[in-house]
């Protein structure tokens, strides 16, 4: 399709809007304003929500503060729990080690008592035999044997 210069001039020339144009425009503007207040524009929900918050900074601050306090309290509780757990495990390990130490100590004490008892019997019997054998210098004899 080809437009000539005259066609364009004809199309773009001034036209009279007719009587009451200003009133009609103003009436439409008022109508648009009224519609805008009562009916939210579709697809702009988030924007209006944010706008709500933006209009209420005290509420926003309160909610954010509550959230931060909640996180801080939760973190503190968790760290306390972890600490208590670590302490409990350490105490258990310590207790086990102490028990083992006690067992070893008791075992060592028993071994010592047995060794002393054995040497006591050895001494008694050795001297008894030497006495029975009437070996006056029995010890000297044994000493010589050792050398």
């Amino acid at each position: 399709m080809h437009f000539s210069e005259d066609d364009l001039r004809e199309a773009l020339k001034r036209k009279d809007p007719g009587e009451g144009f200003t009133q009609r425009v103003m009436a439409r503007v008022e109508q648009a304003k009224a519609e805008g207040k009562t009916k939210p524009v579709n697809g702009n929900g988030n924007r209006s929500f944010l706008a709500w918050w933006r209009l209420r900074p005290a509420w926003t601050f309160a909610v954010v503060t509550l959230l931060l306090l909640g996180f801080a309290w939760g973190g503190y509780q968790y760290s306390e729990y972890r600490h208590a757990e670590e302490m409990r495990i350490a105490a258990e390990k310590q207790k086990q080690m102490e028990e083992k130490q006690k067992e070893l100590q008791a075992e060592a004490e028993q071994a010592k008592a047995q060794a002393i008892l054995a040497l006591e019997i050895a001494r008694a019997k050795l001297n008894h035999v030497l006495q029975q054998a009437q070996v006056p210098a029995g010890i000297e004899k044994i000493r010589r044997q050792r050398l």
């Binding site: 060794a115 002393i116 006591e120 001494r123 050795l126 035999v129 054998a133 044994i142």
Partner: protein, 193 residues
């Protein structure tokens, strides 16, 4: 190369010999266990390896100033094992010659009988044997066998046993860290005397 091989073989033989002597010094006393049922009082001490080391460590910790403890330490330090079986019976003839023989039969030619005492009146037979180490410089083991009518005692000590020190030990061992022990041991020794 031959020299090195010779040294290795020599070392191995020495080790084997030392091991052999160590094993010879230990007398099996398990055959006497059956007497436990008949005995009125049984003393059974088996102390070797880690247990003996425990005992040595405990004695090492005891007070150094005490003469008895010092003597005890010097006795214990080279021991490898202490085995005692003592049976006291209410009546005579509760054990047989075979029981004594089961111990005596293990005494090889390397053992030397130091003392023997036979008292036919009281029917008592006592023996002390020594086993010398390979070099002959040290004692590798001692066996004390006391067979009385109502008592049979076998003491086998493995290691470099300072017999003279054992016999000259006071008839109580005083370990300062345990007064109760002290009293107990004193009591026991007096009982045995």
């Amino acid at each position: 190369m031959k020299r090195v091989m010779g040294m290795i073989v020599g070392l191995a033989l020495c080790c084997a010999a030392a091991r052999g002597y160590g094993q010879d010094a230990k007398i099996q006393l398990d055959s006497l266990n059956k007497l436990s049922d008949k005995a009125a009082r049984v003393t059974d001490v088996t102390l070797d390896g880690s247990l003996l080391q425990f005992a040595v460590n405990m004695i090492e910790k005891a007070d150094d100033g005490d003469e008895d403890v010092a003597q005890l330490k010097s006795i214990m330090k080279n021991l490898k094992g202490i085995y005692v079986k003592s049976f006291e019976f209410d009546e005579a003839s509760q054990y047989s010659k075979a029981d004594v023989e089961s111990v005596r039969s293990q005494i090889t030619a390397r053992w030397t009988k130091i003392v023997q005492s036979i008292d036919k009146r009281s029917n008592e037979h006592d023996e002390i044997y020594l086993l010398k180490s390979g070099s002959g410089e040290h004692v590798a083991g001692v066996l004390i066998l006391v067979a009385e009518p109502k008592e049979l005692t076998v003491v086998n000590i493995v290691g470099d046993v300072p017999v003279d020190k054992i016999s000259s030990l006071e008839h109580h061992f005083v370990i300062n860290d345990k007064d109760s022990d002290k009293k107990q041991k004193k009591g026991k020794s007096h009982d045995e005397e």
